[in-house]
Symmetry: D2
Subunit: 435 residues, 4 copies
């Protein structure tokens, strides 16, 4: 059964096409900077938003009544949803899916029942995967929706909840491995606090570190060779979340000795909620060789929520692709559209508009960034800016061969430093010129 | 010569006094939780705001024309300012000063001239210190006002500026040691970027780490035994500052192996600029045993500037003092009023109102926090909340003696976790009850 | 049947009581500034949060399973909920309720069915009201949860939805009148836009003005003599809401000629979402004689959501009560606790802690504000500050009897103005002294 | 004497030019939508930022030492600055200047001395204007930098300051008229409060209304036929400014009966400080026919300051130009680059890069917006969305010929409204397609 009946495969038709259901820039097989666009991006569809989304918001009931979600029994619904997912993947032409355990099928009343359900649906999805040659970019466990996690998951003050998290992680890892997941993500939606008055931050962070270590050890024992990602977010749903931003999360990863196995999955909207630009978070991650994957979306510049809208800002993504290209791409991951339609976008077709818009703006940003790098002025300016560290004394400084008295001698025996323009406006014009 | 002629020593007169120029709560010698208030707080006056402040803002010229700032030659002005400072300290009854090098006297046209000037004024201040038995809580170098730092200080892309920073740090360390400074602070007002387009984050962070190491090594060689503090701030004046918040700064300190010598100096207004509550920053710092000192002030809840107003929120500081008391106080530091009058508070007397208000609100918060802790319900609630980690299995978990399969077995062989209220509203009422 | 079995009537026990289930400051019959506390505040319980709340958040399912919400059929559930509401009102000792139409009973599949349902439940509630002598502070219509309002209610681009809003308003007004509602509120949760790209702001505002006029005319025809309130909110659920803040809403009310019948209902958390302090919104409203009522709660200082937590900030509410007392109280309304428990506060008892804490902090703020006003220094300072407008020329200026050339003559023939301190720090200390 | 020696006239060279000192899109005489680009935009250079800027920030001294600012005596400096201004205007090829009174020459110690100084420099500038055929888009008075305005200008609690403001406004209006200013702007940088505790909002707003009326009356008497603009800003330098945003300011203008003479001057960075998108402020202004002029710049998405950077966001300005084109352009004004270089952009050349970038991004946005409107799909979608108001009943509703009972009858006798997608994602793709 086809859910998207009037929609065929979305094709690349170039920027002059008048057809809103075509790619204007994203051309999967086009080679840019030595790789196909498909390889650069590894675009993934987010199972939760695209196939489970209902259009609920804190003040409003469901608005999106997708046909695959109408069956009464959970099992049929899960099968329908999987069918819709693979039809969508086929038509949009992306290679990857990302999912939480209970996106695939409704959670059961007990752990054992949940396992059984996941067993069934994952068999079904496995068939789909094999038939379609589609892949799983990453899997994860939803340890935040169930009310038992209201006081935290791995950081819950009640050990019996922590044990429950462990059981769920085991199951989610098993399913991810079974479905060939290339990576595994941890997003700590409940790892944080509502109020410091009842919270022991130190204990809770230790528990999180211990549990992630256990999960990693277990997965490795099962032969999982992919990368683990932590996805930073500063707050929401909790008042504060421990994986606040890239810097904080890298500090955490190192403190608990997880840096060989863990990288970051950086989300645009989470970056801006943390008062950072997205390129800042990418720059921090790449400076530590920690850029694993990204969740593509955008927030609203005028509010502080996680609106998860589809990305569409050309200036922003051009800066993004500049950093990613220069870093040599992702460490294991790709680009997952962790984005949802606004709740009043209720046509089935809107799902296509949204993903097309997102893919096109990334493709365009890649082409622009590549042109900038080929032009070379941008990199040359940066190199010259730091050239003084390639002098004899500059090199010694970087090699830690100087003491403070040496700097004193250098400073007092040389003319005062010159005023050197940062040239920001010129560089910004340079970027805009290539857009 | 007296600058504050009509003002005598500010006395503790208790909460029923109608005299605005008296302390209502701050009673320096009163013992609370085993220490005098003076020992708990080590209140310090900030040389820059209180004696150098002019009332300039980005849209307005100077409004505050203090008599000690009216001399034409820089040297007389510096002496007058020092006289005013010690008169103020004497009358307000605090024990400590904090300063930047060029708060004490105007920077010279060359490093050598600056050193000579600082030599002169520090001799004069040393006499004042000895005579008054006042002390220096910490010194620091102003590596942000001079235009040569417009592209960064230790993180400047030009090595000749970095060398210049080294020379200035040496001088500021020498002066701090000479004046008996108990600690030394680094605030990286220019350590960050204006635009990522021209910035190599990785290089710049390395340079900062190298220079702090050099500075520490030098000071230790000179016999300095105090603590070094880094003061986090997320932005302003730079678009982004590397010492964003407590977590980021602790990560930096550990990365460069400085954790034995460095602690944090946490500022209220910097915490809120980073989208954290002040108690959050304190909780993070104490969870890593890194709470060195604090800069007391407050921002404005409705804007994003560093307004540096004097603290006056009783609810907020009660939570603050709860954390500080439980942590056993500061690691070396105290409470510096890094706060300024609003520019239209132009009476000399206003300096006293402001410091009195700040000291009183801290004193009151200390008394309240002590009552809460003596009452004990607050701590008892927290202990019970985590009690399950004191069971046999909980303990094993914390000791890293379990694997994921163990958690699975525990979770599947026990009844599901109970729903346990976080009791936040009750705890908040409890706090308010003691205010 | 009793839902709150172990809880008796909450009594005033004074500030030294150790009983968390007692009022420490709120003493309903105590006279302050010429009125009882009950008259000052007219505390109301919000039907939606307190009796319909489930603890759902955007990332989590229900956590609060109150016994009155467990019946399977909507009618029994509505009766149970009403029973719980009046038991709660009786025990907490407040006089008022506030409600949306579909808080009382679940919306029906058609308008006519909804009317029938409301007829039934309102008969039942009417009996409760008469028996208990409790009252309705205000009623309102929920024109935001139903998916038909996803593109707006009165401002929907589809006229058939606007007509539907009209029908619902008629019904909600009828019910409010039937239940003796003292006022009627409009909160435009969907009156705004998600994207300007598809929105005609001018048309939508006109439609809103027309519909409010119709609703007012209808209610007056039915004999309703209460006040209509508009409740400003800047955003959420919409990206932008037309009733952004007090100033914007007053401009709207005047533009459509509604100022005789409409006042504002100001909510603390909405004020702060609009980047205003709550006292700012009150000052604007009182300066236009437009302060109708308030919704008491608080947001979180570090995020941008409508967290609707219970109020607990003594400093903030003292400033609030200063303004309200000086304005002579509310124009028709009172204080509705539009506040909810955090979702992990799951004990039935927590509902009492929360309302007790809220009432106590307002009572305390009233007592403090009254002391400040009795002391008189605060008002005296303000009067002196504007005294120059009581001179002959100042009066002429205020009477619009001067032209610009007169001001020129005055300015050039007098000595330059003196520098007069704003004395903000002294005033803040004055306020704190009375807390 | 030439200040920009190595720079010739900036030419339009088209998008493929490699010359950073050329326009890529701004082609003054190119006709778009029936007008030349120069007529659409009326680009103006801001005297204050471009010729008076020093690169000071709250933590740093001057960095920009422009040659025209080096003369010791204020008169020579003023002449040099004027020479530089007209050389810059000539080379950048814009037609307009905007200025504050004391941008032109340093304020004198008395009103009369200031007048004399302004007399002298305005004679000199008048010659420049006549010779160059350049024009003044608007003039204004700086009533915020002088310390006498620290407690407010027109809203100062001291009448003698208010009189002083009157005298300064008279002078600034005289100078603007003398120099042929096409409009006159009021920006109330000090019209607001630092603390509500010492402020009578109601009185202060009345005084502001009275003074603006006087100023308008005076200017009209002198034959000024241009438009008066008020420029909204929510805060900074004051904690709150009365002209918060477009809605608030329109409400104020109407309250004091100034709507025939006053329009708005909307600034991008002020819009975003008020938590609005720039297109929101434009939409509000055009919905009331109040869009007078704009101040072009941009803020930083991650902080809350008035950074006044040069505009460079193509997506944002495309939406801007869509609104402006559809509104038929500005009511009297144009586009003033109220923007400054970052303080570490210290080359003279950087002034050109910045203005070129700004003009190009507007020119490009104009071309894109024109293409979108010519394509027509965008407008068609909006029209269809509101088409139901063109039915018989919809029209009656808009004509206020229905009562609430009519809406009830319509709603209950028709099938329920259909779910109609808002199509936001499709519309956003449509916009991006034309970029």
């Amino acid at each position: 059964m086809a859910y998207f009946k009037n929609i065929g495969k979305i094709k690349f038709e170039g920027r002059n096409s008048d057809n809103p259901l075509s790619f204007k820039y994203y051309n999967a097989q086009q080679i840019v900077a030595g790789k196909t666009m498909a390889e650069h991006f590894k675009f993934a569809v987010a199972y939760w938003h695209t196939f489970c989304g209902l259009g609920i918001d804190p003040f409003g009931f469901a608005t999106q009544f997708y046909p695959w979600n109408q069956a009464k029994d959970f099992k049929t619904k899960a099968f329908h949803k999987a069918d819709a997912a693979f039809e969508f993947l086929d038509k949009i032409g992306f290679d990857y899916l990302c999912f939480h355990d209970f996106d695939l099928i409704e959670e059961g009343p007990t752990q054992l029942e949940s396992e059984k359900r996941l067993e069934t649906i994952s068999d079904y999805i496995l068939d789909h995967l094999e038939e379609s040659h589609k892949k799983v970019l990453w899997g994860t466990a939803n340890c935040f929706s169930n009310p038992i996690y209201m006081n935290g998951a791995a950081t819950n003050p009640d050990f019996s909840v922590v044990a429950r998290v462990g059981a769920q992680l085991k199951m989610a890892l098993d399913i991810t491995i079974k479905l060939g997941g290339e990576n595994y993500v941890f997003w700590g939606g409940r790892e944080g606090y509502m109020s410091l008055l009842n919270t022991d931050v130190s204990k809770e962070l230790d528990h999180l570190g211990i549990l992630l270590t256990m999960a990693k050890d277990y997965a490795r024992k099962q032969g999982f060779r992919g990368t683990f990602f932590i996805e930073p977010k500063p707050m929401e749903p909790m008042k504060h979340q421990y994986d606040f931003d890239a810097s904080t999360t890298i500090g955490f990863i190192k403190k608990y000795g997880l840096e060989k196995d863990f990288k970051l999955n950086i989300e645009i909207n989470h970056a801006t909620l943390a008062q950072h630009s997205f390129d800042h978070e990418l720059a921090i991650a790449t400076s530590e060789n920690m850029l694993g994957s990204i969740d593509a979306n955008r927030g609203d510049d005028q509010n502080g929520w996680d609106t998860d809208q589809f990305p569409n800002n050309i200036n922003e993504l051009t800066r993004t692709m500049l950093i990613i290209l220069q870093a040599g791409g992702f460490q294991g991951g790709g680009i997952n559209f962790d984005a949802k339609l606004r709740r009043n976008s209720t046509d089935l077709e809107d799902l296509f508009h949204a993903h097309i818009g997102g893919a096109d703006v990334f493709a365009r940003a890649l082409l622009i960034a590549d042109s900038i790098l080929q032009n070379g002025q941008y990199q040359k300016h940066r190199e010259q800016r730091y050239a003084s560290f390639d002098t004899k004394e500059g090199r010694k400084f970087r090699a830690k061969e100087l003491v403070l008295e040496d700097l004193y001698a250098i400073a007092t025996s040389n003319p005062p430093p010159k005023s050197i323009s940062g040239k920001q406006e010129m560089l910004e014009n340079l970027i805009n010129r290539f857009i």
